[in-house]
Amino acid sequence: MPNRYICELITSNQLTDTAFAITVDCRELAAESRPGQFVHIKCGEERLLRRPISICRAEDSTLAFIFEVKGEGTRWLSECKPGDMLDILGPLGNGFALPESGNIIAVGGGIGVPPLLFAAKSLGDRVTALLGFRDSGKIMLKREFEEICAAVRVITDDKGYVTNLLEETLRNGGHDAVIACGPHAMLKAVAEICRRHGIPCQVSLEERMGCGIGACLVCACATRADGKDHMSRVCKDGPVFNAEKVVW
């Protein structure tokens, strides 16, 4: 069950010019967390709203989160020091429905890459990771994926997109499902490619959030079910959706 935890920050590292990795100590939260879920972190007393951040790793009593500094809240979080206490609500959202068997392609773009590491970790060598970044300075977690995945391919925007890699990988065959997290345009393209290849695809979406627990209805995402349009809640019904259900 989700809960509010006051967790000690253990480490904080800058990964790229804008991305930071922090680890916190919380055995209960780590035990409850599943790949694809996120936490809602209070970023200082001055800011009313929490910041939703995906879970990159959860083992024993440690959780790792990787986030990009985009505004005041995430800047505050990036400046936290070991020993600081963080107010964390979680784990939230549904997470990926990871298949028991078969080969999975994990497609990540930019700051959408970290939650896929958590998924890859539980799938092991059944995963092929396709990771896209804007430029070489933004590349992160390559080594961590290489340690666990069957294959890892990294591409930067000057050379092409992860969607090119996905087309290639699917053409070669041998894969049963796709999981993806990244910018909306990338996810839309990934969903379209999977549809054409008849491969099931789960996408992890992002939207500006309020409560994070499904009550305030601000993080709406149009979905289609039973021949009807709905507004689903990214925080509670997602963040992971069956790509065919999303109204792109």
Binding site: R4, R47, C211, A215, C216, L217
Partner: protein, 304 residues
């Protein structure tokens, strides 16, 4: 032991703290965090005659000490609410307030009748103040004629206590409150959000997809206190005060201004446990000042 009970428009509340409509869904989500029966009452998400999908995202933006929202009354419609949500709410040991919003006066009347016939709602909150919908909503709440016609229609078709939720986006809140009272409202609640806007200076686009939205949170608290005081001074019916209440001291302040009940809205979004800390904080305030019952501080402001 402080007596926190409040009799409000004939309905018994175990304490003055009520979760505000639109920030609390139909209760289920917060029920995963604590026992909802600890609350004085729950105002459910605004209901409309038929399902509404709401506005396009982004629907939220943070602002200094507050936030904007432009949800646009996303809800499954009153019939689905009665069928799927009311039985659960009825099972809770707390007051259930159904919030209704119509495109037309007839829709308000129709919903009032349905909710009166259904078993489970203890009170109606008539929303004439939503800033995020094109038809209805605030359009009714900003004129005496609009508030009067909606209140009269609901009063005629409801056999539950009727509370009218007012918009702060008016020149004279007292005359609007008197209009509702004059048409038979049993109580007033205020404030809904303040119509607001932010623009991204880089893209030159409004940060909300709907361009405008409603401002809430601590930023609006002083406005809410002022309006609650003006309304409580102008009418004889009781007032539910809300707008930026974050802690027990804020709740006490709202009651001193004249509120009999206090709504918790945006604070739920910041932290799910706030209603419970507000109840505890209010009790501590009363104990500290050696006050036997919460109702004793209602309207207790000593004017200069």
């Amino acid at each position: 032991m402080v007596d926190l009970r409040i009799n409000f428009a004939g309905v018994e509340f175990k304490n003055p703290i009520v979760t505000a409509s639109g920030t609390f869904g139909f209760g289920r989500e917060y029920g995963e965090y604590y026992d909802l029966s600890k609350l004085g009452g729950i105002c459910v998400k605004g209901l409309t005659a038929t399902e509404r999908l709401g506005n396009q995202p982004p629907r939220i933006a943070e602002t200094p000490a507050g936030m904007l929202n432009s949800v646009g009354l996303q809800n499954p419609g009153v019939d689905a609410f009665i069928r799927d949500e009311l039985p659960f709410l009825k099972s809770l040991d707390t007051v259930i307030i159904a919030n209704i919003s119509g495109n037309t006066v007839d829709e308000y009347a129709e919903m009032a009748e349905k909710l009166s016939d259904a078993d489970g709602a203890d009170m109606l909150e008539v929303n004439v103040s939503c800033p995020n919908v094109k038809a209805g909503g605030m359009q009714f709440g900003t004129t005496i004629e609009g508030v009067s016609s909606v209140t009269a229609a609901v009063r005629k078709h409801a056999n539950l206590p009727v509370m009218v939720k007012l918009s702060p986006n008016v020149t004279d809140i007292a005359e609007i409150a008197r209009a509702a009272e004059g048409e038979g409202a049993d109580a007033i609640s205020l404030i809904n959000t303040l119509l607001a806007m932010r623009i991204d200076t880089q893209t030159r686009r409004p940060v909300l997809q709907n361009n405008m939205g409603g401002l809430s949170g601590p930023a609006v608290f002083p406005v809410a206190v002022r309006m609650v005081w003006q309304v409580a001074s102008a009418v004889k019916i009781p007032v539910l005060g809300m707008g930026g209440v974050m802690d027990g001291d804020n709740a006490a302040e709202m009651m001193l201004a004249g509120a009999s009940l206090v709504g918790i809205g945006t604070a739920n979004i910041a932290d799910p446990y706030v209603p419970l800390t507000v109840i505890d904080g209010l009790e501590e305030y009363l104990v500290r000042d050696n006050i036997a019952a919460a109702r004793e501080i209602i309207g207790g402001v000593i004017l200069n």
